[in-house]
């Protein structure tokens, strides 16, 4: 049992709005004391490890609701070890992975194995989503109760649209029976086939376009099914201004709904595709400026609950193809904090509100999906799990795929300047990452 003391820190706890100087004492895997540095409980704390956080911010560890890890099935692109190391290098202490692995996460044994492998690495905490239907084929329901017992925090269809509305209806009914949360990316199976957002850019480049309708029709369907079944849904990767409006109205109506958007939709638009830059081949496709503006505003006002990295390891060669044939996805775990800070600075939100989008708010989505007790200690509360990120807010760095811990180097943010440099990350009280000095 390690006893750790973090001193001279700026403590930011987005859940409570706390933003002041202080120290944190960690006993084993929990936060024991949060107090001023001269508090006798701190000065008398007998620490085995001391971290001087002078000039740095201490926040609850980041929670990423969408990160693929390469395993099982895409080990050439990413390994559990490399991608979880990327997570802690980015200050991410908990992450949710979608079930579109190979084989698909529709077998309890597979989930148990994945969780066991992740745990034994002592890096970030891994929360898998189970497949909503067997093999993600959209036909037969998976064994949700069994998968839940094995550790799935919810059920998802990843990026595979369910064509058959009857199956989706049944899946929501069944999930609602047990109070499970269903994680869905709103995308119509037929209209959603394309490699870029429909619009002037796709028209000029001759790329097949996905209309906004693909998102809004799927949302309308999901909301109707929620009204009928009472199922709780988390919407993944919202991409359009019209979609944001529908979500805002559905939340106002009181539907049990949360949603996220990715760092790509927060910062990039279709024009960034330039001359067929395959790094910009992403799912969902990048939309127009007004969509990006709406997503930025909705993340600030809470309509969008969480910002996610949508981390997807892609092997080196898989992007060296014509745009439409290139594999979609990008590395992102190490960019989540910087992307959030960049948005927060531009939107003048202040650090606590900015970081809420990657800490307390996704943590709340995850807790609800896990069915965790409302009374559980969170954030920088005494008694909360000691999952912490220590970062220098006023240092910046330039993104270079080759220097990332992730095995996958493709990112549309290459050469972008990112604010905030992670100094160290603690998971369950243990030092999981420490930046080279």
């Amino acid at each position: 049992m390690t006893r750790t003391l973090i001193t001279n820190a700026r403590l930011v706890d987005p859940a409570s709005g706390r933003d002041d100087a202080g120290a944190i004492a960690i006993d084993g895997d929990t936060i024991a004391i949060v107090a001023r540095g001269d508090d006798p409980r701190i000065t008398d704390f007998d620490a085995m490890l001391s971290i001087d956080a002078r000039g740095a911010v201490v926040v609850p560890g980041l929670v990423d609701l969408a990160a693929r890890l390469g395993e099982p099935g895409s080990e050439h692109a990413g390994l559990l070890e490399s991608e979880l190391a990327a997570a802690v290098a980015g200050g991410v202490t908990s992450l949710v992975c979608p079930p579109d692995t190979d084989p698909v996460l529709d077998e309890p044994g597979l989930v148990t194995m994945l969780k066991y492998r992740a745990r034994s690495l002592h890096l970030a905490r891994l929360y898998p989503l189970g497949a909503l239907t067997q093999g993600l084929k959209g036909e037969a329901l998976s064994e949700m109760a069994e998968l839940r017992e094995a550790g799935c925090v919810g059920f998802s269809h990843a990026d595979v649209a369910i064509r058959d509305t009857l199956v989706l209806h049944r899946a929501l009914q069944y999930a609602a029976t047990f109070g499970y949360t269903v994680w869905l990316r709103p995308n119509d199976a037929w209209l959603g086939n394309g490699v870029a957002a429909k619009g002037p850019l796709a028209t000029r480049l001759g790329l097949s376009g996905v209309p906004v309708l693909a998102e809004t029709i799927a949302l309308a369907t999901i909301f109707e099914l929620m009204r009928d079944t009472g199922a709780r849904v988390h919407l993944c990767r919202l991409s359009s201004a019209a979609g944001v409006e529908l979500v805002r109205a559905a939340k106002a109506e009181g539907l049990p709904l949360t949603c996220d958007a990715s760092i790509h939709q927060l910062h990039l638009i279709d024009v960034d595709i330039g001359y067929f830059d395959a790094a910009m081949r992403l799912v969902p496709p990048l939309r127009q400026q007004r969509d990006r503006d709406a997503i930025r505003a909705a993340l600030a006002d809470g309509t969008i609950d969480a910002l996610v990295s949508d981390h997807t390891p892609v092997m080196e060669d898989a992007k060296h193809l014509p745009f439409a044939e290139a594999e979609p996805g990008a590395t992102g775990l190490e960019l989540l904090l910087g992307a959030a800070l960049k948005w927060g600075q531009a939107s003048r939100l202040g650090l606590a509100r900015t970081l809420a989008a990657v800490t307390s708010r996704p943590a709340a989505v995850l807790a609800r999906s896990r069915g965790a007790a409302e009374s559980a200690k969170r954030g920088l509360d005494e008694g909360a799990p000691a999952d912490l990120c220590v970062f220098a807010a006023d240092e910046s760095w330039t993104v270079d795929g080759a220097t990332l811990a992730s095995r996958s180097r493709h990112t549309p943010f290459a050469r972008h300047e990112m604010p905030g440099r992670v100094r160290c990350t603690l998971v369950a009280g243990e030092l999981a990452y420490e930046a080279a000095r």
Binding site: G199, R204, L207, G274, P322
Partner: protein
Amino acid sequence: MFGPRNPQLNGNDELIHLLSIEGLPQATLQHILDTAGTFLSVSERDVKKVPLLRGKSVFNLFFENSTRTRTTFEIAAKRLSADVINLDIARSSTAKGESLLDTIANLSAMHADMFVVRHSESGAPYLIAQHCAPHVHVVNAGDGRHSHPTQGLLDMYTIRHYKQDFTQLTVAIVGDIVHSRVARSDIHALTTLGVPEIRAVGPKTLVPGDLREMGVRVCHDMAEGMRGADVIIMLRLQNERMSGAMLPSAGEYFKTFGLDAAKLALAKADAIVMHPGPINRGVEIDSAVVDGSQSVILPQVTFGIAVRMAVMSIIAGNSP
């Protein structure tokens, strides 16, 4: 924010690849057309050759079959005295699983000087231009729905030949515009050359309203599209679009948007009729119009050789 620089131009804004007409200055287009004019006479001589590309190797890389376009490039390169190597890649290496860039690396090692590329995916020639050796030039011979710049240029040559001035014209492009790389190249070229009215004519499934973003007037009525036009460019209707969710039947298409003498009569009396070929007689255009006095479809083919000679000789003369 400034985007990446146009990859088909060198530091002096000279053309080193021809990938798309979009973004090329008007002077560059005019220069190509002027140069093509000087090559037209070469094809009429007894000895149809000039030595501009002597000792150079031009590789025709057709990842998608097209005998006609490949042949015109082959003739153009040979008339410039280049050595021409035709690779029907659709049926060779990539079918064995070799990646596009491995194929390019191998051919570069054979000391290619120029790649003429046809590919079914939009943007493929950009990828090749990005990854081939710096002295190698790339000509896009058609990529997906994106661009077919030499076809666009030969269409401009044809229009200039018959109409001289671009700045007073009404040009109607009729047919499957949404899937057409020819239409995109024509629209960019016509816009750059100052044509005041470009009409995109066809049903909403083939001519969606957002084509307006490219600077064209969208017409869903054939009569409206034809009225007063100086130039009519008919597009080929691909077989796979003749029936299905895009169009109910070839017959209904001909009736509504096919060009026959009655519809042509709505255009100006001296209007010219163009078509990139191959033609579906009786689908998008009536035989009588193809063979009629206003058709310039065969001259287009002749001009196409001269335009391709011009493009190849110009880019080969510019260094990266």
